[in-house]
Each structure stands twice: as structure tokens, then as C-alpha cells.
């Protein structure tokens, strides 16, 4: 493990809420508003941490463990995601699967915490979450494995280190397909438009936000921070693919990679500004399409 990987990890932990702030700012600019400050999410986190907590009498320890497990698992998964072509702090053969399943663990406990409240709204959100993630998971894994075959490596870090201009010229079509698939999965997994509207006011139509309706105070701070880590994770998976700037001094590579992550954030904000939320029935079709894109990226290498 090299120190640079750890530095990247700390940067990710520190800057992740800024990504959420960037998306909100981009959306505000598109709508012609000034929008909240870039650091608003940090202020929110601080405020939430200062509050007390109120729990429903229906809930048990499962409800309290939901945010804790979700944050811990997501933070651990983030430790396997490489940045700027450097090895991640946790890089080993097959880390792809561990990372994806850690996200699954986080989701499992979030869903259980939602069901623990006994509320029909949260049950609805939980039901949608498990449905969409069950379809997004194969798309993501097939995509990452296809990337592994393209770069002849069994781990995320060398796979992303192998993505570069040469690979884009050799297998550009595959990489482009993968980028599209990853972007769709990013939007679905992080409850962004067109899959879910993080700002909607109607509980009936939400997915992620409605699951955490009953969490408040420090618990909600953990959830928000966990969500921003997850967004960062997916954004850096995508950014590493589309902005493979290498060969400069390490600090320059790092800056480029960070820039890439924020470019992805801006793209998310733009998509959210130009699109409406899809009907829930359409979501599985889009996720199937992402799976097909990943599979195509793989099949193109079979020639």
C-alpha cells in the first residue's frame, strides 16, 4: 500500500459532501437561481450532529444499526476504489466483488431499518430499493468484469491503472458502452433523477428519501454522509474511466482525477435539470438497458 492511496482515500472522505453540494449548485444555476452555498451539506451535517434524536416506539436496535452499518460498509467499500491510476488502500484480487457486496450489506441494513418503523411509506421505499438494486447489481458487476478483461487484471486498482489513451483507441467502443452503463447505475444507486427525485415533497413517490424518513439528528447525519460517500464512489468509478489523465506528477494526476469526479457531479446535475423523474414502471427497463450495455462491452472483446 502506498501513501498516495491513503491520501486519496482521506481526500475522498473529506470532499464527498462537496460533490452533493456541487450537484445542487449546478441544478440551481440551470434553474436560474443562485442556489445554496457549495458547502451547504457540511453545514447540514454539523447541524444534524448537534441535534438530539427521537425514535419511534415501534423500532428496535435494527433501526439504530441501519445508519451505522450503512456508513461503515460504504466507507470500507470506498477504500477499494482507486483514483488517478494509483492503487487504492485496499487492493487485492477480486476486490470488485467485495466492494459491490459491501454496498449490498449497507443497503440490506438500510432496508431493514426502514421496515423496522412499520410505516407503509418506508415499506414502499424499501421495496423499490431492493427491486432496483437487484437489477443494477448485475449491470455494475458485468461492467466491472468486462473492464477487468479489457485490462487483463483481476483487481480494480490495476484495472483502472490500465485505462488510458491507448486503451481508448484500442477498445474505445467497449469503454464508451461501459461509461454509459456506469452512469445509469450511478444515477439509480444514488437515487438521482430520473430514477428518484431527492427533492420531491411527496413520500409516495420516493425511494431512498422515504426509507430514512424516521431517522433524525445524528443518525440522519450518518445517513447523509454515507450517501455522499456512495455517490463519490460511483462518480470516481466513472471518472476513472472517462478522464484517464496520467503521466504527470502525482499531484497533477490527483487534481485531474478530482476534477473528473466533479465533472461527473456536474453531469448528474445537468441530467437532473433537463429530465423529469421516470415512472417507476420504466425504471427496470432502463436498468436492463444498462445490463445490456455492459454485456455488449464484454461481447465486443470476444472478437
Amino acid at each position: 500500500m502506498k501513501a498516495i492511496g491513503l491520501i486519496h482515500y482521506v481526500l475522498a472522505l473529506a470532499l464527498a459532501p462537496l460533490l452533493l453540494g456541487t450537484i445542487n449548485r449546478v441544478k440551481a444555476l440551470f434553474a436560474g437561481r443562485h442556489g445554496p452555498p457549495l458547502f451547504q451539506v457540511y453545514f447540514d451535517l454539523g447541524k444534524l450532529l448537534r441535534k438530539g434524536a427521537v425514535y419511534s416506539r415501534t423500532t428496535t436496535w435494527v433501526f439504530r444499526s441501519g445508519p451505522v452499518v450503512a456508513l461503515a460498509a460504504t466507507a470500507l467499500a470506498l477504500g477499494m476504489i482507486p483514483m488517478a491510476g494509483q492503487a487504492a488502500p485496499l487492493a487485492f484480487t477480486g476486490d470488485v466483488f467485495v466492494a459491490v457486496y459491501l454496498l449490498g450489506l449497507a443497503r440490506f441494513f438500510t432496508v431493514l431499518a426502514a421496515l423496522d418503523t412499520g410505516s407503509a411509506f418506508e415499506g414502499m421505499g424499501a421495496s423499490r430499493e431492493v427491486q432496483f438494486s437487484a437489477l443494477a447489481e448485475p449491470a455494475l458487476l458485468v461492467g466491472l468484469v468486462a473492464l477487468g478483461r479489457l485490462t487483463h487484471s483481476l483487481s480494480l486498482s490495476p484495472a483502472y491503472a490500465g485505462v488510458g489513451p491507448e486503451l481508448w483507441s484500442a477498445g474505445g467502443v467497449s469503454l464508451a458502452l461501459l461509461a454509459v452503463a456506469f452512469f445509469v447505475v450511478l444515477l439509480a444507486e444514488n437515487a438521482r433523477i430520473p430514477f428518484d427525485d431527492p427533492n420531491t415533497h411527496l413520500e409516495l413517490t420516493m425511494i431512498h428519501e422515504v426509507m430514512v424518513l424516521d431517522h433524525g439528528g445524528p443518525d440522519f447525519a450518518l445517513i447523509t454522509y454515507g450517501a455522499s460517500l456512495k455517490l463519490w464512489l460511483f462518480a470516481s468509478l466513472l471518472a476513472g474511466l472517462i478522464i484517464p489523465v496520467r503521466q504527470g506528477p502525482e499531484w497533477l494526476d490527483t487534481a485531474a482525477a478530482l476534477g473528473g469526479v466533479f465533472v461527473v457531479g456536474c453531469a448528474v446535475g445537468m441530467v437532473e435539470s433537463c429530465m423529469a423523474r421516470l415512472r417507476l414502471l420504466r425504471v427496470p427497463q432502463i436498468l436492463f438497458a444498462a445490463l445490456v450495455f455492459s454485456a455488449l462491452a464484454f461481447l465486443l472483446q470476444m472478437r
Binding site: 434524536a53 449490498g104 423496522d116 415499506g123 414502499m124 458485468v142
Partner: protein
């Protein structure tokens, strides 16, 4: 070996004593259960030591030599692995059954139930130990019949009797294929000894080898529960008492996998299509099993369908391994077989844990309907926590054991996709996609099951008045949950234990190099370190949260219900509504039936919705097929007049015909 033989004897004697003592129900139950517990404890220690040492023992005694029989038993690492899982699960289930059977009626029936249980354990052990086809088939048949008696334990219920009948027919139809396989092998070699069959493969034509492979997969796949041969599983497993369901689902169906692993090497070097075949069967069983599970309302039926799913994962692992063998990719072969074998053990652990938990719930509330339960975690905290561990483990989530075996299959497939030719990469990629889909759907299904049964508010009075199970029932679940954590955290050790087993199963040279390569890739070490890290991180965040909240004020209130004034427990999301989006998405295969009574009138009072998901394969494939056979055979009904004289006449005619034929052959 002598220890294992005495274990079998203790089981037989204990069962018989339980029947003889049935006038004293307490004593009879205690004898029946404790003989099983003690025998299993000894058996577990012996087989675990054999497994760790990688040793083989052999024992022979003459028996029916005229027809080629022999009491030939042996325990090599493959047998020891299955035996260790068998004795662990059966011993713990017996301990659980001691209290679980308490609330049923005593008398002869309870005594018989213990006899069947002990015989089931003994016959399964004998299946795994025997090295002679005749002995194997006898044990196989005893196993099928005693488990039939256990399935029909509550024989006053019509559904139990139906389940028993379906099971009996299915298992015997499967055995027909086993017979064909064994008779062919016996004819080829002139011997019923498994050892003598070892070199048959090289002399077989590809066509004969292919047919034998199909016989093997169909015959033993029926017992294992490959789709579409699984239809007996969701009927039989819920009907049996819960500790028996745990044994049947955890161990008995694995004897099919064991037999495939034992006999497959006899068929020689596997062609590629065998691997394809198992991968496709695996994905099909896995995905369909979990989809049908999602649509079920009965807790034990749901779990039974999950056995189909997990058998699919095991078959997928073996298929990946076979592809690795046939294309000479040792890494893929080793990891595929290792994943399949470890999943056998893992599934035995978490599925029996879940069945025991489901039994505890049924005993405490008197119902197995998911939608009539709820809020049980507060009333049964120990059972609930153990069930949660089982649910997370079966969903393949780290840091539990289910993840380790799935990781092996993933890694093996990934390695094959990366380095292999297209013929290998495509099925292996299919395997990865299938496994990912299965994992996501299983997590959905167990979030539903645990969430609806244990979380929220109780939906009925039965659920509200539930009590925690007695310690003797909780202890086995706690031990199984601890095992789930143990394997989850000890991935390198698990692989180390599997090495001698793998060396016996995989027909490739120089496997030790591959073992070293895998051990050197430190992925297993990383998996277990990540598992530990996950635990540490969770505890750290939890401690931070606890410390932080200790300085704040904490209030309690009702669940936020958007301002509605009178929430009731019936307004909670139900299991059916939770699963509906996925069930709807896959309605083409599931074909759920809905009966919907709309609210009508200006002041609508009553409305109802019923959904039922029957097994498509049973309704659309087997029922029509059996009806067709029935119709066809009814032409022969005139033979069956019911008069004994006529039947004697038939016998005479048959004998005469045979005599004539024999004379003709001689001439």
C-alpha cells in the same frame, strides 16, 4: 472407521429404544434425541479430524457376495467434509427437536418420529460412507423412505399426505436414473465396487459418457432439487417438523451433490458441454428458486424455495469448475469446485439455522403466514438476532460465510473470463451475471422475510403474545450463527481445509501449484481482513454514535405517518406488497394468481386481495405429463379385475412364457 460404525449402531439402537419406550413419552423422546446428539457429537469429532488430517480410512466386510455386494465403507476427505456438516447440523437439530417435539402429542407417533430421525441420520451417513453400489442403493432407499415418514408425520393433514406422495414419487423417479447409471457401470466393469469404476471413463464413447452424465444429473439432481426437478421440495420441506426440515434442506438434498461429485470422476475427462450444462442448470435453479421464494407467503415454503436457489449456486460452482477442468484452467477449476463445496457446507449451516428459526416462530405464534406476523424481534430477541445472521448469510453478504463461497465462484469465473478463450468466457460471464442477480434477489427476499416477520408491529394477536423459545432451542441456533461468522471471518482457513477434498475431485495434474498460487494471491486473506475491518468499523461508528448521543436528549414517539391520526398495525406494508414489484416484473415465469374483490358502493365496507403463486413446473409440466401417462395406462385397466384367481393366472402365464423363452434361448 470403527468410531463411525459405532455411531451408526448407536443411532439405530437409540431409535429403536425410542419406539420401545413410547409408553413413557419423556423418556422415549430423551433417548431418541440424546442418542442422536451423542452419536453426532462423536461423528463430528471423528469426521472433522479426518478432514483436517486429509486422511482416508477404509473398512470392508462380506455381504451378499453372490450379487456383488459388500459392506464396503470408506471416508476420504470428500466424505469427511459432508459427514462433518451432516453430524453438526443433525446433532444441533436433534437438540432443538428435543424441546420442539415436546409440544406435539407423545406416544407411539413421537417415538416413531425419533426412530425415523435417527435412521435418517444413519442412512445419510451410510450414503456418504458406502463404496459399493448395492450398499449405496440400500442406504439411498432407506433415506428416501424414512424421510417420507417424517414428511407425513402429521398424517391427519391432507397437505402433508399429498406432500409425502409427491416426494415419494419424485424420489423414486430420480432413483430410476440412478439405477440405470449404476447398472450400466456394473455391466461395463462386472463389479459393483465404486473403486472398480474409476477407470471406466477412458473406455466410454462420448455418446455413452454423455448419456451417463445426463442420468447422473437427472437422478441425483432430483434429490438435490435442480429446476425443474425440484417440485417435491417446496411441498415436502414445509410439511415435516422444523428440525427435520432443517436436516432435509441442510443435508439430505446435499447427498445428491455428494453422489454427483463421487461418481462424476468415473466418467472420465469432462467435455466442455458438461460444464455449460451445470452452469445453465445452476443459473436457472438459482434465479427461478429465488423468484418463487419471493412470491411465497408461508415462511417454510419460502425457505424451501431458497434451497432450490442455493443448490443452483452450488451447481453453478461445480459447472465453473468443470469448465476449468475441460479447458485445462486449473485456477478456474479449483476455485469453482471450492466455491461449490464450501457453499454446500455454508448452506447446511445457514439454511438449518433459518429453518430452526422458522420453527421457533411457528411454535411461538402457531402460524407460518408471513403476513400474520410482525414485531417478533422485541418478543423473541435471541431467535430474531440469530435469524438475522442467517438471513444476511444466505444473501451472501460479508462478513458472513455465504459471501466466502460466492466470492470463490466469482473469482474463479473472473479468472476464466480474463484469461480464457471465448467458449469459456461466455458461460463464466453468464455465471457472474446470474450470481449477481441471484444475490440481489436473495437480499430482497430476506429483507422481506426478516422485515415483515420480525420488525414493525405485530399484525395479529398471536404475534403479539409470542414468547422467546426455551434455551435448548435457542442454543443450536446460536451455535449455527457463530459458525456462519466463523467461516465468514476465516476464509483462508476454509480454503486450506478444502485442499485435500479438491485434490480428490479435480482430475488435473499438479494441483498443488495452483493451491500455492491461490494461497499466494492473498485474496482470501484480504477477504477475511475486510470482514474483520467491517466489524471493527461498524463497532467504531456505533461507539461514536453512542458516545455522541449520550450527551443529547433522546425522545420517543410514534412512527411518522404523515399526520394520520389513527395508525394501526394493519396499515403496515405486507410481505405481498413488498415483493409485488419484483413479482410483477417476472410475472411471465411466476404466473401468480390474484383474486381481487374491489370495494364497491358509496360507502365501501369490504374488499379483499388474495395472491397465490403455485409452482409453474408442477402445474404446466408435471401435472399434464402425469395425466397423460394416466390416460394412456387406463387402457390396461381391464387387467385389474380385483379377482385373485385371475392374478394367479397372470402369474402362471408369465411363468410359462418365461419358461418357453428360456428353453428357446438354451436351444
Amino acid at each position: 472407521m470403527i468410531a463411525l460404525l459405532s455411531v451408526l449402531c448407536v443411532l439405530g439402537v437409540g431409535g429403536l429404544l425410542a419406539v420401545l419406550l413410547c409408553r413413557w413419552p419423556r423418556l422415549s423422546g430423551a433417548v431418541g434425541a440424546w442418542s442422536a446428539i451423542l452419536a453426532c457429537a462423536v461423528g463430528f469429532v471423528v469426521s472433522a479430524r479426518l478432514l483436517l488430517a486429509g486422511a482416508t480410512t477404509d473398512w470392508q466386510a462380506p455381504w451378499l457376495p453372490q450379487v456383488g455386494g459388500a459392506l464396503h465403507m470408506a471416508a476420504d476427505p470428500l466424505s469427511a467434509l459432508f459427514l462433518a456438516a451432516l453430524f453438526l447440523v443433525c446433532g444441533l437439530s436433534a437438540l432443538y427437536g428435543l424441546r420442539y417435539m415436546d409440544h406435539g402429542r407423545g406416544g407411539l407417533r413421537a417415538g416413531l418420529a425419533w426412530l425415523w430421525y435417527d435412521l435418517l441420520v444413519a442412512s445419510m451417513a451410510l450414503v456418504i460412507l458406502s463404496r459399493n453400489a448395492l450398499l449405496f442403493l440400500v442406504a439411498w432407499e432407506v433415506m428416501a423412505i424414512v424421510s417420507f415418514f417424517l414428511v407425513t408425520h402429521e398424517d391427519e393433514r391432507q397437505d402433508s399426505r399429498l406432500a409425502g406422495r409427491i416426494y415419494l414419487i419424485a424420489t423414486h423417479l430420480g432413483t430410476v436414473f440412478v439405477f440405470i447409471f449404476m447398472l450400466y457401470m456394473a455391466r461395463e466393469t462386472g463389479s459393483l465396487e465404486f473403486d472398480a469404476w474409476r477407470n471406466v471413463g477412458s473406455g466410454l464413447s462420448p455418446l455413452a459418457g454423455g448419456w451417463l452424465f445426463v442420468c447422473l444429473v437427472v437422478g441425483f439432481g432430483t434429490k438435490a432439487g435442480f429446476v425443474p426437478l425440484h417440485i417435491w421440495l417446496p411441498e415436502a420441506h414445509p410439511a415435516a417438523p422444523s428440525h427435520v426440515s432443517a436436516v432435509m434442506s441442510g443435508i439430505m438434498i446435499k447427498t445428491g451433490i455428494y453422489a454427483i461429485l463421487r461418481l462424476l470422476p468415473c466418467l472420465g475427462f469432462p467435455p466442455l458441454w458438461w460444464g455449460w450444462c451445470l452452469v445453465v442448470i445452476g443459473i436457472g435453479s438459482g434465479v427461478l428458486g429465488v423468484l418463487f421464494a419471493l412470491a411465497q407467503h408461508d415462511v417454510k415454503r419460502l425457505l424451501a424455495y431458497h434451497s432450490v436457489e442455493n443448490i443452483g449456486i452450488i451447481a453453478l460452482g461445480l459447472g465453473v469448475g468443470l469448465i476449468g477442468v475441460s479447458l485445462n484452467m486449473p485456477l478456474v477449476a479449483v476455485l469453482g469446485f471450492a466455491g461449490g463445496l464450501l457453499h454446500v457446507v455454508n448452506h447446511a449451516l445457514f439454511k438449518s439455522l433459518l429453518f430452526l428459526g422458522a420453527g421457533a416462530v411457528a411454535r411461538a405464534t402457531g402460524t407460518r403466514e408471513t403476513d400474520r406476523l410482525g414485531g417478533l424481534l422485541k418478543r423473541m430477541p435471541g431467535t430474531g438476532a440469530a435469524f438475522l445472521v442467517g438471513a444476511a448469510a444466505i444473501s451472501g453478504l460479508p462478513p458472513l460465510n455465504g459471501f466466502v463461497s460466492e466470492f470463490m465462484i466469482y473469482w474463479g469465473s473472473f479468472a476464466g473470463v480474463n484469461t480464457g478463450p471465448g467458449v469459456a468466457a461466455v458461460p463464466l460471464m453468464l455465471g457472474i451475471a446470474g450470481l449477481a442477480l441471484i444475490g440481489g434477489l436473495a437480499a430482497a427476499c430476506f429483507a422481506k422475510l426478516f422485515g415483515i416477520v420480525f420488525l414493525g408491529e405485530p399484525r395479529t394477536a398471536e404475534a403479539r403474545d409470542a414468547r422467546e423459545s426455551p434455551p435448548a432451542m435457542f442454543l443450536p441456533m446460536a451455535i449455527l450463527a457463530a459458525c456462519c461468522f466463523g467461516i465468514g471471518l476465516g476464509a483462508p482457513f476454509a480454503f486450506q481445509v478444502l485442499r485435500p477434498v479438491l485434490a480428490g475431485v479435480i482430475p488435473l495434474p499438479q494441483l498443488s501449484l495452483t493451491f500455492e498460487a491461490i494461497a499466494g494471491a492473498d485474496a482470501f486473506l484480504a477477504v477475511s481482513s475486510v470482514a474483520f475491518l467491517a466489524l471493527v468499523l461498524v463497532l467504531t461508528v456505533a461507539a461514536f454514535r453512542r458516545l455522541h448521543l449520550s450527551r443529547k436528549n433522546e425522545g420517543s414517539t410514534v412512527t411518522w405517518d404523515c399526520g394520520y391520526a389513527k395508525p394501526s398495525a394493519r396499515m403496515q406494508y405486507t410481505a405481498s406488497s413488498f415483493a409485488q414489484p419484483l413479482v410483477g416484473l417476472f410475472s411471465t415465469v411466476l404466473r401468480s394468481r390474484r383474486k381481487f374483490r374491489m370495494p364497491a358502493g358509496l360507502f365501501p365496507s369490504e374488499s379483499s386481495l388474495e395472491t397465490e403463486t403455485r409452482d409453474v413446473f408442477r402445474d404446466r409440466l408435471f401435472t399434464p405429463a402425469f395425466k397423460g401417462v394416466d390416460r394412456w395406462l387406463s387402457f390396461l385397466k381391464w387387467l385389474q379385475s380385483g379377482r385373485v384367481q385371475l392374478y394367479v393366472l397372470y402369474i402362471v402365464i408369465t411363468l410359462l412364457a418365461l419358461l418357453v423363452w428360456a428353453l428357446k434361448v438354451q436351444a
